[in-house]
């Protein structure tokens, strides 16, 4: 054996796990996808619109809400699961946030706290069904998706929760947009960045840190990579799964508050089909739906790829029908490229 007579002083490769061949090639592919989309923007700048700062600010701003959902999905997908309920939980959160801060006039911090707890409860419910009842994640979260949408409609009475509040006599009275919503919708840093974009980046940083530098993150990769090996190594598999869904639920709640702030209302129909866009973002980045492979860096690239694609198509006034078809085609191309890594 050539393995013998080695001392532990020999320096090992510097950053084990970060620079695996798989990770490098995935990163290259994700960067390539983004570069491709940006090239599209340069080729079709829509009379220079692509080169204006406002366009980029808008692209980031519009990608932020779904991007937050994608950040939340990452831990679930790393652990080998999926969460289809994020769009519905977003809608529910938007409604409840609007109810609390517009109708009930609760202070912003309390509204946020309550909505986040609700998102966590939704995630814990999905996660427990997956972990304890061993229901397939697809089915468990599909059920949550339908349930949360129903709850959103019940809580809102089927209408948008807006600043026009019906009084006891049926006459609409207009109330102020609550400070929480105004703050979240305001441009910051000298008007160059939308506040929601900062929220998105903060969420990405927190979840990214959890995945890369926290024990929970390591367990997510272990459970997604080989659940049985993880279990036999003493990894708390159930707790890991449930926590992944809780993180996802909390992110969906944050996204819901941001959505309500942007629309200045709580729409029970908000976030329909967002889960699919968010999953596409994660997958385009190169995170494997089979679990165990991927990361936040890749997910951010995926969010930007889809965000910019959408923006470039819209500034070029591509009709929505063609836009959807083109997006579908590009998702497939990127997914196939990632798969062959």
């Amino acid at each position: 054996m050539s393995d013998k007579s080695l001392s532990p002083d020999v320096p090992a490769a510097r950053s084990a796990g970060k620079t695996s061949a798989w990770h490098r090639s995935s990163l290259a592919r994700a960067l390539f996808s983004l570069a491709l989309v940006l090239t599209l923007g340069v080729m079709f700048p829509a009379e220079g619109a692509f080169f204006r700062l406002g366009t980029h600010q808008g692209a980031w701003r519009q990608a932020s809400v779904v991007g937050i959902l994608a950040c939340g999905l990452l831990p679930v997908i790393l652990a080998g699961g999926i969460d289809l309920s994020v769009g519905s939980v977003l809608g529910l959160s938007a409604v409840v946030a609007a109810k609390l801060s517009i109708h009930a006039g609760e202070p912003g911090w309390l509204s946020v706290l309550l909505v986040l707890v609700m998102g966590a409860v939704c995630g814990a419910a999905s996660g427990s069904v997956v972990a304890f009842a061993r229901v397939q994640p697809f089915v468990a979260t599909l059920a949550m998706m339908v349930f949360a949408r129903g709850l959103a409609k019940m809580a809102s009475g089927g209408t948008k929760v807006a600043t026009a509040v019906p009084g006891p006599d049926g006459v609409l009275r207009y109330v102020e947009v609550p400070p929480l919503f105004r703050a979240l919708d305001a441009p910051v840093l000298g008007g160059r960045v939308a506040a929601v974009t900062l929220v998105f980046l903060a969420i990405a940083a927190i979840v990214g840190f959890l995945c890369a530098r926290h024990r929970l993150g390591r367990y997510l990769y272990a459970v997604g990579g080989n659940e049985e090996a993880a279990r036999l190594s003493g990894v708390p598999v159930r707790a890991t799964k449930i926590l992944a869904y809780v993180i996802c639920g909390v992110c969906a709640a944050v996204a819901g508050i941001c959505q309500a702030a942007q629309e200045q209302q709580g729409d029970p129909e908000a976030g329909v089909s967002y889960e699919l866009t968010a999953i596409a973002m994660v997958v385009i980045g190169g995170t494997s739906l089979k679990g165990g492979r991927g990361g936040m860096g890749l997910t951010l690239l995926g969010v930007l790829t889809i965000g910019y694609l959408d923006k470039i198509l819209s500034i070029n006034a591509v009709p929505e029908a063609s836009r959807l078809m083109l997006t579908g085609a590009i998702v497939i191309v990127a997914a196939v490229a990632q798969k062959n890594s």
Binding site: M1, S2, D3, K4, L6, S7, P8, V10, P11, A12, A13, S15, A16, G17, T19, S20, A21, W22, R213, H214, R215, L216, G217, R218, Y219, Y221, A222, G225, N226, E228, A229, A230, R231, L232, S233, G234, V235, P236, G292, R293
Partner: protein
């Protein structure tokens, strides 16, 4: 049947094996794991097609291109893992490859009538419309035989068909095999149980390292000779290594330990009791379905409620190990036999795999400490003889030997009091094998109790201070180190069952 010869090219899994199967004869095929039995049978069944040599069927040169083609030629396999479709009826299963009917429309009445006739031939009085999932295991096995016959099989390969069965079902199966023989079917019967071979087989052939090392009529060779063929001349004596006598401090005590089976009619492990002392390596020797591996799995907590015992004590304290986490908390480590599916997380580096067990102590407050983790991983690598550069590699890309070192190493970092090690060196090269053996001995010398399960007689004889030989889930014999030669162990494991359950 005439003359079957096969060769593999350079890989030499099979090295010029010739086997004659005669119509109306049951031919037993024996050999240790890796001797080439399954490769040979897969070639015959059309699973492997890239082989040298030639196969003659009734004097005609044939070359099975696929399992379907082999079936059409009249070669059928009854697998250990039954291959019926549980949600379909018996009749549908019998004709699933070639449904009766025209233009793709299935003639159910004809299928049902044919199915009833074929079932009668194997002595199964069942309604062809019954769903397979409602059948007992022996019934399913008979349906599988019926399916082979329905396709006109003239060569039937049975791979350890009695593994899952209890006494009466075995008798029924043997009646069926006798009937097949009378009908002129050539049966290849893979087994390691001499009692069965003596009852049912006409001839036996032993494979070792891809060669035929012996062939004889059953009854004309004693068990000792068969064992000698299987093991080869290399190491009939136990490898002599001075070992300190273990202290008589009880580490693990197991009373009436059983493991229930999901699929089998009988428990995989059946009320087994034994004691392991600190500083001792105890071997659990058993061939394929003896239950040695399942016993370790059960003790590791991995099987949850399927493993039951009257009492399990660790260091004389009664314990409950309902999950691997609970077992780990008690100082129990488990190195599984199948490192791909149970030992390693692919996609994760060897370093992260290596620290997976001890991660809680390496990440205070949940925060990963890369430097600390690196130190632990380097210590592990040095301990088990792994190149430090290998730590940065995806564990799935390592060689079998290095993978096994990682799986063993991650548990050694946890300093277990009891190490359960299933097939410690399966598929591992010679050098790594010696290092892993040395590691296990060193661990025992430091005072841990080590329980090693396996089906490699040489390995168990070389490693263990004491060997428990298992047969069909029961301890058949306890052998002290001095008597534990590979030949003695194998003879005990293959020997006659005294009284079946």
């Amino acid at each position: 049947m005439e003359h079957i010869t096969k060769r593999f090219g350079r890989a030499t899994v099979l090295d010029g094996v010739s086997l004659d199967l005669h119509a109306g004869e049951v031919h037993a095929l024996l050999g240790e794991n890796g001797a080439g039995k399954s490769t040979l049978l897969k070639i015959l069944a059309g699973v492997h097609t890239d082989h040298g040599g030639s196969i003659f069927l009734d004097g005609r040169l044939v070359r099975p291109r696929s399992p379907a083609h082999a079936g059409a030629l009249g070669i059928a396999v009854i697998h250990q893992e039954l291959s019926l479709l549980p949600a379909l009826s018996i009749a549908e299963n019998l004709f699933v490859e070639r449904p009766l009917g025209r233009l793709g429309w299935i003639d159910r009445r004809r299928e049902r009538a044919s199915a009833a006739r074929i079932l009668g031939e194997v002595g199964l009085e069942l309604d062809p419309d019954m769903l397979v999932e409602g059948l007992s295991l022996p019934e399913r096995q008979l349906v599988e035989v019926a399916r082979a016959l329905g396709r006109g099989a003239r060569v039937l390969i049975m791979d350890e068909p009695t593994s899952a069965l209890a006494g009466p079902a075995i008798d029924r199966l043997f009646e069926l095999v006798s009937g097949l023989r009378a009908r002129g079917v050539a049966v290849v019967y893979v087994s390691h149980r001499m009692e069965e071979i003596e009852r049912i087989a006409d001839r036996l052939t032993v494979l070792r390292d891809g060669r035929v090392v012996g062939s004889a009529r059953v009854g004309e060779v004693p068990l000792d000779q068969v064992v000698a063929w299987m093991l080869g001349p290399r190491s009939l004596a136990a490898e002599e290594l001075p070992r300190p006598a273990p202290a008589r401090e009880e580490r693990l005590s197991v009373e009436a330990f059983s493991v229930d089976s999901v699929a089998f009619e009988r428990p995989l492990v059946d009320r087994v009791s034994f004691v392991v002392f600190a500083g001792e390596i105890v071997g659990l020797f058993g061939l394929s379905d003896a239950g040695a591996g399942e016993l370790l799995l059960g003790l590791s907590g991995a099987l949850g409620a399927r493993a039951r015992a009257k009492e399990v004590r660790i260091s004389s304290v009664p314990v409950r190990m309902g999950s691997p986490r609970e077992a780990r908390a008690l100082g129990v480590a488990f190195v599984p036999a199948d490192r791909k599916s149970m030992g390693l997380v692919p996609g994760m580096t060897a370093e992260h795999n290596g620290t997976l067990v001890t991660l809680p102590s390496l990440s205070p407050l949940g925060l990963l400490r890369p430097a600390r983790e690196r130190r632990a991983a380097l210590g592990m690598a040095a301990d088990v003889g792994l190149r430090p550069e290998a730590l940065a590699m995806d564990a799935a890309t390592l060689s079998g030997g290095n993978q096994q070192k990682v799986v063993l190493g991650k548990w050694l970092l946890d300093e277990p009091r009891l190490l359960l090690c299933d097939e410690p060196t399966r598929g591992v090269d010679v050098g790594a094998k010696a290092e892993i053996h040395a590691k296990l001995r060193a661990l025992a010398a430091r005072g841990a109790a080590v329980l090693v399960a396996g089906s490699d007689a040489r390995e168990i004889a070389a490693l263990a201070d004491r060997v428990l030989v298992l047969r069909r889930g029961r301890i058949a014999a306890e052998v002290a180190r001095a008597e534990a030669t590979p030949a003695a162990l194998l003879a005990l494991a293959m020997g006659h069952d005294e009284g079946r359950a």
